[in-house]
């Protein structure tokens, strides 16, 4: 993967001349970024040709066979997904360097409910968030006066609508599906948070949470230079791709198997739009499964190719990502069981609606 090497070089060079580069003017970064993107685009455009070349000319697998179709699928999708992840994670990483959870909290505290829900869901996309800090973040938000429903909008949107999911959906299923996912994911986060806010469930937060007087803010409000932001973006690439590449490859391998060997239309009978129970079933099956977007989307692509209905598949995917058992166990420490039930009920309801809606219109 040449472009990976290329971008690595920019970043390594940055590390080596760390001290000097701190003062470089912004236009040089813009120039480097443009050059990187152009090169990326040139290589990206050649991937399909390269996969076919490798499969049929180098490995000499006869065209038109199941094996050939599986191998080509794998050789095309793997570098494609990796390249998409690279550029999107890098770009979003740079954007994220402008946001911190503290800043997000300050923007959200004291906001009116509906507007706060919308803002929280949008900030969920760009605020750096890892589900293991869901609890401290929850406490920080609620004790700082962010309304409970608004906090939930953030907590729902942050893991579900993220750059990894969107990059993969765009690359494998096209911009329409990615846009649908973005819009419906945000709507679920906004509406679920709003409903939870309306239900006034403050007394279902564990008592100890409200007694905490959050201490002084953390002392990291230093301003970052452009150099720092690019380093931050590159760190995000190393961190995220380092974590997800295994899932991506496994996901694509499973997808490639389905692509080559599962007969056309088989999925239509299991995950098609004909039966009313397919959407709820897909949602329920998704809950105990804990995967990230990177692993699940290549499988989703293959399922769709074999006739599964988009709504059913989207419901399955959202359920896997947004309603995960481990996260509920973590949240149980700050929320009483009743509140967890409502959370699952409201978000699950939203996912079901999305599933039925897409099965109906597409």
């Amino acid at each position: 993967m040449e472009p990976l090497d290329d971008l690595t070089c920019t970043a390594c060079a940055g590390n080596r001349v760390h001290e000097k580069q701190l003062r470089r003017p912004a236009w040089m970064y813009v120039l480097a970024a443009v050059a990187g993107v152009v090169l990326w685009w040139l290589v990206y455009g050649k991937l399909r040709w390269l996969a076919a070349l490798l499969t049929y000319s180098l490995f000499r697998i006869p065209a038109g066979t199941s094996l050939g179709s599986s191998v080509e699928f794998f050789l095309y999708d793997t570098p494609k997904v990796m390249m998409l992840l690279l550029i999107v994670v890098y770009g979003v990483g740079i954007i994220r360097s402008f946001f911190t959870p503290e800043r997000t909290r300050d923007m959200l505290s004291g906001k009116s409910e509906l507007f706060g829900n919308v803002l929280a869901a949008l900030l969920g996309i760009v605020t750096p968030f890892c589900s293991c800090s869901a609890v401290p973040l929850f406490i920080g938000f609620v004790t700082a006066g962010v309304p409970l429903g608004v906090t939930f909008s953030f907590l729902i949107s942050a893991p579900m609508v993220n750059e990894i999911a969107l990059a993969l959906l765009y690359g494998l299923l096209g911009w329409k599906v990615a846009a649908l996912y973005l819009v419906t994911g945000l709507l679920i986060a906004i509406i679920s948070g709003w409903v939870i806010g309306r239900l006034h469930m403050e007394k279902h937060i564990e008592d100890w949470v409200m007694q905490i007087r959050a201490g002084a803010a953390s002392g990291q409000d230093e301003t970052l230079t452009w150099h720092d932001r690019f380093v931050y973006g590159w760190d995000a690439v190393k961190d995220i791709i380092g974590r997800v590449w295994k899932y991506v490859i496994i996901g694509i391998a499973v997808g490639a198997g389905i692509h080559g060997f599962v007969p056309e239309g088989l999925m239509a009978s299991i995950m098609g739009k004909g039966d009313w129970w397919s959407v709820p079933l897909a949602t329920i099956v998704g809950v105990p499964m804990y995967s990230n977007a990177a692993g699940i989307i290549p499988v989703v692509e293959a399922l769709l190719g074999k006739g599964a209905a988009l709504g059913t598949v989207l419901a399955f995917m959202m359920s896997v990502i947004a309603l995960s058992l481990p996260e509920m166990i973590i949240l149980r420490k700050v929320l009483k069981p009743r509140m967890i039930q409502v959370f699952v009920g409201v978000v699950g309801g939203g996912i079901l609606l999305v599933g039925y809606l897409f099965n109906m219109i597409i």
């Binding site: 959870p101 909290r105 750096p128 293991c132 609890v135 920080g140 905490i212 201490g215 953390s218």
Partner: protein, 77 residues
């Protein structure tokens, strides 16, 4: 000197703890490094995102694994 690494136990938190210990032993500073996993205590520091590093009661960073030279700066002052 008292250093606390705050984190419920995810991969990044472990990495942060290991790095802090590494820097402490490299610099030879007498410091007591503790891992704090209790959520109430973490929240009490006003920390939103883990891992976080607290040196002598002062929150130095949160929400990321610090770099080694950053840690060095905090503890050698």
């Amino acid at each position: 000197m008292e250093i606390k690494v705050l984190g419920p136990g995810c991969a990044k938190c472990k990495k942060a703890e290991a790095l802090v210990k590494e820097v402490v032993s490299e610099t030879g500073i007498a410091a007591d490094v503790q891992k704090v996993t209790d959520l109430m205590e973490i929240a009490g520091y006003g920390v939103f995102a883990t891992p976080a590093v607290v040196v002598d009661g002062e929150v130095k960073c949160s929400g990321k694994v610090p770099k080694k030279d950053e840690i060095k700066k905090w503890i050698t002052k």
